[in-house]
Amino acid sequence: MAEVAWLVRRPLIVGDKSVAQVTRDICAAMETRPSALWWAGFLAALSLLGLGVTAISYEISTGIGTWGENRTVGWAFDITNFVFWIGIGHAGTLISAILFLFRQRWRTSVNRAAEAMTIFAVMCAGIFPLIHMGRPWLAHWMFPYPNTRGSLWINFRSPLVWDFFAIATYLTISLTFWYVGLLPDLATIRDRTASPWRRRIAGILSLGWNGSTRTWQRYEVVYLLLAGLGTPLVVSVHTIVSWDFATSLIPGWHATIFPPYFVAGAIFSGMAMVLTLMIVARKTMQLEDYITPRHVDIMCKLIIATGGIVGLSYATEFFMALYSSNPYEQFVFLNRATGPLCWAYWTMVSCNVLVPQLLWFRRVRSNLVLVFVISIFVNIGMWFERFVIIVTSLHHDFLPSSWVSYRPTCIEVATLLGTFGLFFTCFLLFVRLVPVIAIGEVKAVVSHDKLSGGTHA
């Protein structure tokens, strides 16, 4: 067994745990009272959420005009946030599905949280296509349903429709995948918890799971299939998101490199977000033994890799623009780097390309604080990447007569903060209500470690 040999080098879970201990440790997080730290974070997140809800209701009741967009820059913060959050989501699916297919066992400690992150991120992302509409109350027109208009269907040629289907599918599949993974752990909670209401809820949700091998066998098949579906799905989703731009004819959008570029960027940003969360979680929830420096180390390496792809994409884009003797294309990129919004461009480059280079050094990788800071930088940088792509391409396009500038309004900023509020509210509730780590899988890993340790020692 290759991975056994690989595992020999260093165990994934430190502090030689017994299976029962694993259960105890992980469930402890949910059974003890929430810490003051948790409450602080939760209230902060909740108030941000409140702010966002206020901003959005004001926008919907008053008009898109409450945003800084104008006749030339038709999208700005709204779609920037959308792409940003979708990107965040992708790392979750990567860790849980793709690494599962590659039999990367280290994922077990983080996949549950990563999947949760995916779902919450997609929720945040989903808000924006909705509220960026001038008349969101007509959003159901995006769905092809029979109607009395003779029948007027929808435009399947529009990337926005592709988007709609992609996001819907992605959310559904991610939820299913997550829930399937949760079943055994819900059963565990059901069977050990003291509180009757928690037992009742867990009882209903666990669908009467009994660790029968027959079920385990099917369970593993389903899990594998969903992982197999999720892998191309996650790639397709961000490819389609990138087509929103790539299929248009705006210089700076109209580029064939977008799909790989976006997917890499998505994983890049997602990994950074996973790191951010994990580092916080392991500190605040005493999970040091499960989320070890090795997990962090591996993810840092992934960040270097994806960051490299992203940096390469920036360079390629620029080169292609200059190489294509298309004046509009050339203009857009020179304008990005030196124009009125160049500060955004250089923020993006320094956060996404320069800063991650620090991770080449093991000393940096092993310094969790530093890693945490870097991960934040990457998050910022990736937000600006979307901003740069969307706004700087639009604000100076073909006809010089319609060149304009763009300034966000307070409402837009509040909306962005609001989505962070939603995300962290959901995440903090998640760490209280659901095992943050896939108990079943970790047990398997633990006993494997023991097993291999035993045989080879």
């Binding site: 008053t62 008009g63 898109i64 005009g65 409450t66 800084g68 967009e69 104008n70 006749r71 030339t72 038709g74 999208w75 960026h132 509409m133 001038g134 008349r135 969101p136 109350w137 007509l138 959003a139 159901h140 027109w141 995006m142 007027l152 929808i154 435009n155 040629r157 529009s158 990337p159 926005l160 429709v161 709609f164 929103d244 299929t247 248009s248 004819l249 705006i250 200059l322 003797s325 004046p327 509009y328 050339q330 203009f331 020179l334 304008n335 030196t338 124009g339 639009l394 100076h396 396009d397 073909f398 006809l399 010089p400 007569s401 319609s402 060149w403 304009v404 500038s405 309004t409 409402i411």
Partner: protein, 1012 residues
């Protein structure tokens, strides 16, 4: 219209589904109900908006009950929902263009040029197009005022009558002050009224005065006449600061004539050579073939020198020293040659208010034998009658309190003249001041009585803009308030109250009928005149004295002494003119053709001057001239003379306080008015009325920064087609979105100046979309387009385009479907200007359609790019993907600030709700109308039967619309024209809007010129 008419009118409204009949005491309230109904389009869209909720509602309850209230006895001409057109005369300015009033269910909703009118030839200017909104202005006085209080006509008549009686008994000076009134009947009535006093005089002045021209002709021809200028006959035009395409005398007539003089499609082609010599960049200057910047004080000497040069050629002894600037004198020399070559077919015009200069101008025209050829004093124009000397005398009389009674009509001296507050104070001292103003304007505030005149669309009137051409104004709606026609009022005070209709008919029978010979019966003549809107009669002949050379004195060269400080030039914008349209939101929001700034006036500075002063656009500067100072934001204006600071008149009007709350209200919104609560700054204080002329130039003005800034609402932030070098790889700095060439090059090769290959690339796909029926397309001749922006307003009126207010314009959210892109080329100092009207290009492969998720914008089988407002969910993807950025989004709900103005809405076009995209539709409502009528008649749609609003009103006839599949159509011919190009052709979106290359009358044959 009979008394019944009014009620008919309102019922006719309800025929469209209005609330209740407008009867009972408070007729006005009833009208407001009427108004809600006009909101109902928007209301419905909104309701329809609340998708699920709305549907739920509808399923529980029936839709609200709508009543339909038919006539009791139907007038045969009115068919509900069927538009009628009445010929009338535009009262937007004294040019008196002919127009047709489109009246729908008795409600005037649109003004269109009257194609049969010999002067305006079917065109209207921006101000004329917008003037219909004045009819539905709730700020209009609805009854007479006595000392500012509402009064009844009886009281006013009694009170005024008594005073008049005493005056005519004890004598005393009675003065009637008005701007130019060309109507023979009104003038006669005024004289008749004044005749009943011992000392009565009618004083005429124009806020945009041409007094000097008339004075000059008095000296040279012995009569105060304003010659009629015939630009179409001129092959060489030398204009000294006369903005005849923008604001000078009769821009629409002149633009049409000017355009006729440069027709490349004519056989043989004719193309006049137009030189503009001016201190600031005017619309006319922007179209000139050769433009020379000149300091205002140099203008006189320059013109005088030119006259001298011509005199030498003619062998006369008259010489005037050449200007200091050698470049200028060289230019004048060449100009003199070209003028001389084109004797009898040339024209020298001058906008200066200096009589000596105007005399020199006359002299030049005389030498060139242009009198009787390109300008006509025997059939003169009456469009400017102002006499500044008389005005000055009157003002001194007033301030001396020597006037017993002052009547003021169609004029607002307190705000239009220098020293307004002194005039106001003097007025307060006079025993009787009567104003006929329709608003409580600056002057009306100081009148004892305000006797509001009808809106021109409510009253009978006539006009004789040019000797022998008399046009009729007929009422198309019953007066909306208790106003009374001026002539009626005067007749009442004369003791013989007569309805206006009778006065005019009588006057025509006695005065005008006699002056024609075609018609023998007066009734037939009258009917035809009213039907056509214009009648050609014998002009009141007068034979001018032979030209008096003795009057001509060589001008002294400009004193170098006055050079310190800048010269302040007060000019007029095409929209605001002298300010009579300041209360019209459409015109306030219309970007100035040159600066592209709306909602403000500003201090224009040449780039060099601005740099020297360290002033940037938007910095508030203080202009100190002797008598006072102005504080307004600066605007950097390329092509302006370095020694000049230019400020537009007509702003800072009292009435503009109404715009404080215009535009959407939300937490970050800013008002459209300035700190003083008014739109712009009133610059009339800087005018000078000295030795008999109203002067628009002041020397020795000092300028200083105040440190404050006021960002201007400018719709175009980048002004050239060339991108900054830093952004341009391998030298491709100029974007080929506009193409131009020179006349010389064009003669060699009609396709000269083409950039890139015009090649219909092969289609990737099976040809699923043949256009078998109609194939609508448009062609715009950029050589003809003067940028006057009449089309922009016409489009706004026709298509119910909202006004969004200064703040939204500043945020680049103006809603105009049709905009005019203005690009500079050449150096910062010496600029060439190109105008490119930009509207939805109706692309065959429309990028906007592909990306709309809900099929809200799709293509019709006649090549139209349809926008279905009620289907739109507002993702704005289409606007992002539009390479021309011609789509407009409803960021908010934009209701008319004045709900009464909803009556002007075009019932054939949906009012768009918040959150939907909108754009030019090629006036599809007109297309459908024409198709339906053709279908009924069983005939094909004739070429020219469909005219979009923009084409209909274009003074230069630059726009052609029609069916490409009709090989004989004008648009098909235009598309075949070698000058034709399409914007961003290389993207193969296949726009249906074609442009004809700009041609300038220049000698360089390399059509390409460097654009910097």
């Amino acid at each position: 219209m009979s008394a019944e008419g009014a009620n008919r009118y309102w019922r006719a409204l309800e025929e469209r589904g209005a609330a209740t009949a407008a009867e009972g005491p408070d007729e006005f309230a009833a009208r407001r109900e009427g108004i809600d109904l006009f909101l109902s389009r928007r209301g419905f869209l909104k309701a329809a908006g609340f998708g699920a909720a709305g549907a739920l509602l509808a399923s529980c309850a029936r839709a609200p009950v709508q009543e339909a209230i038919p006539f009791l006895s139907a007038p045969e001409e009115i068919v509900p929902g069927h538009a009628l057109y009445y010929a009338s005369t535009c009262a937007g300015c004294s040019a008196a263009c002919g127009m047709l009033v489109k009246s729908r269910d008795g409600r005037p909703i649109k003004l269109e040029g009257n194609a049969e009118h010999p002067l305006s030839r079917g065109a209207l200017c921006a101000a004329g197009q917008a003037s219909i909104l004045g009819l539905y202005d709730s700020h209009r006085l609805r009854s007479p005022l006595h000392r500012g209080q509402r009064a009844s006509w009886e009281e006013v008549d009694r009170a005024v009558g008594e005073r008049i009686a005493t005056i005519s008994k004890n004598g005393g000076a009675v003065r009637f002050l008005s701007s130019t009134i060309t109507g023979p009947t009104i003038r006669a009535e005024i004289d008749r009224f004044l005749g009943s006093f011992a000392d009565g005089r009618h004083v005429v002045y124009d806020p945009l005065s041409c007094s000097a021209i008339l004075d000059a002709h008095e000296r040279t021809h012995g009569a105060r006449v304003l010659p009629r200028y015939l630009f179409d006959r001129a092959e060489v035009i030398a204009s000294f600061d006369a903005d005849f395409l923008g604001t000078w005398i009769a821009p629409v007539e002149f633009a049409a004539a000017w355009r006729a003089g440069r027709d490349l499609e004519a056989k043989p082609p004719r193309f006049s050579y137009h030189v503009q010599i001016e201190p600031l960049l005017s619309v006319t200057g922007s179209k000139a073939d050769r433009r020379i910047r000149i300091a205002p004080r140099e203008l006189g000497p320059a013109l005088s020198h030119l006259a001298g040069l011509l005199a030498k050629k003619a062998g006369l002894t008259f010489s005037s020293p050449p200007p200091a600037d050698p470049e200028l004198s060289a230019a004048l020399a060449t100009l003199a040659d070209r003028l001389w070559q084109a004797r009898r077919r040339s024209l020298v015009v001058c906008g200066s208010q200096d009589v000596a200069t105007q005399v020199a101008c006359n002299f030049a025209n005389e030498i060139l034998q242009n009198y009787g050829n390109t300008l006509d004093v025997e059939r003169p124009s009456y469009q400017k009658q102002g006499n500044d000397r008389a005005l000055q005398e009157l003002l001194s009389e007033i301030s001396a309190g020597k006037v017993a009674a002052l009547f003021i009509a169609a004029a607002n001296p307190v705000s239009e003249l220098p020293g307004g507050e002194n005039i106001a104070a003097a007025l307060d001292k006079l025993p009787l001041v009567v104003s006929f103003a329709s608003h409580r304007d600056e002057t009306a505030d100081h009148a004892h009585f305000v006797c509001p005149d009808h809106h021109p669309l409510e009253s009978w009137s006539d006009a004789e803009p040019v000797a022998g051409i008399i046009s009729v104004t007929q009422p198309v709606i019953r007066p909306l308030g208790q106003t009374r026609s001026l002539v009626e009022t005067l007749s009442t005070w004369r003791g013989r109250p007569t309805p206006a209709y009778e006065i005019f008919q009588a006057s025509w029978r006695s005065r005008i009928f006699a002056r024609q010979s075609q018609e023998t019966s007066f009734q037939r003549f009258w009917d035809r005149a009213v039907h056509d809107g214009v009648a050609a009669v014998e002009p009141a002949r007068f034979s001018p004295r032979p030209f008096d050379v003795s009057a001509v004195k060589p001008a002294a060269p400009a004193k170098a002494g006055a050079a310190e400080g800048l010269s302040l030039v007060l000019y007029a914008k095409v929209a605001m003119l002298a300010g009579q349209h300041a209360e019209n939101p459409w015109l306030q929001e219309l970007p100035d053709p040159i600066s592209k700034v709306a909602w403000d006036n500003y201090a224009c500075l040449a780039p060099a001057t601005a740099a020297a002063l360290g002033v940037a656009e938007g910095d508030v500067v203080r202009l100190d001239f002797g008598a006072g100072s102005l504080e307004l934001p600066a605007y950097v204006q390329p092509g302006q003379h370095d020694g000049v600071v230019a400020v537009a008149l007509g702003y800072g009007r009292k009435g503009t306080a109404r715009f404080a709350g215009i535009g959407p209200r939300w937490l970050d919104a800013e008002p459209s008015v300035g700190r003083d609560g008014l739109v712009g700054v009133d610059a009339s204080g800087a005018l000078e009325l000295t030795d008999g002329v109203l002067r628009y130039v002041r020397e020795g003005v000092r300028i200083a920064k105040t440190g404050r800034t006021r960002p201007l609402a400018c719709t175009q932030t980048h002004h050239t087609i060339t991108v900054p070098d830093m952004f341009a790889a391998n030298g491709s700095v100029r974007r080929p979105v506009v193409q131009e060439t020179t006349y010389a090059a064009w003669q060699g090769n009609p396709a000269a100046g083409r950039e890139g290959e015009e090649a219909e690339s092969e289609d990737l796909w099976p040809d699923d979309h043949p256009y078998n029926g109609h194939r609508w397309a448009m062609a715009i001749d950029l050589t003809a387009c003067t940028g006057c922006s009449a089309c922009v307003v016409a489009c706004q009126v026709e298509n119910n385009i909202p006004v969004v207010g200064r703040d939204e314009v500043r945020r680049h959210r103006e809603m105009h479907w049709l905009r005019i892109d203005r690009y500079y080329s050449g150096s910062q100092a010496e600029v060439d200007v190109v105008y490119e009207p930009m509207l939805c290009q109706q692309c065959e492969n429309a990028p906007c359609e592909t990306v709309c998720p809900v099929l809200a914008t799709v293509h019709s089988e006649e090549g139209l790019n349809e926008q279905v407002y009620n289907r739109c969910v507002g993702t704005r993807y289409c606007a992002n993907n539009c390479p021309y950025k011609t789509r407009r989004f409803n960021w908010f709900n934009y209701p008319h600030q004045d709900p009464f103005a909803n009556l002007v809405l075009n019932p054939d076009v949906a009012v768009r709700s918040r959150g939907v995209m909108e754009k030019c539709s090629f006036c599809v409502q007109r297309i459908q109308q024409a198709k339906i009528e053709a279908k009924q008649a069983g005939q094909p749609v004739a070429d020219g039967a469909i005219q979009p609003a923009c084409q209909q009103t274009c003074p230069a006839g630059a726009i052609v619309f029609g069916d490409l599949n009709d090989r004989s159509s004008r648009v098909a011919a235009a598309v075949a024209n070698p000058r034709r190009f399409r914007v961003l052709e290389e993207m193969n979106v296949r726009p249906s809007v074609n442009y004809l290359r700009v041609v300038r009358n220049r000698d360089e044959t390399d059509g390409e010129k460097s654009h910097g």
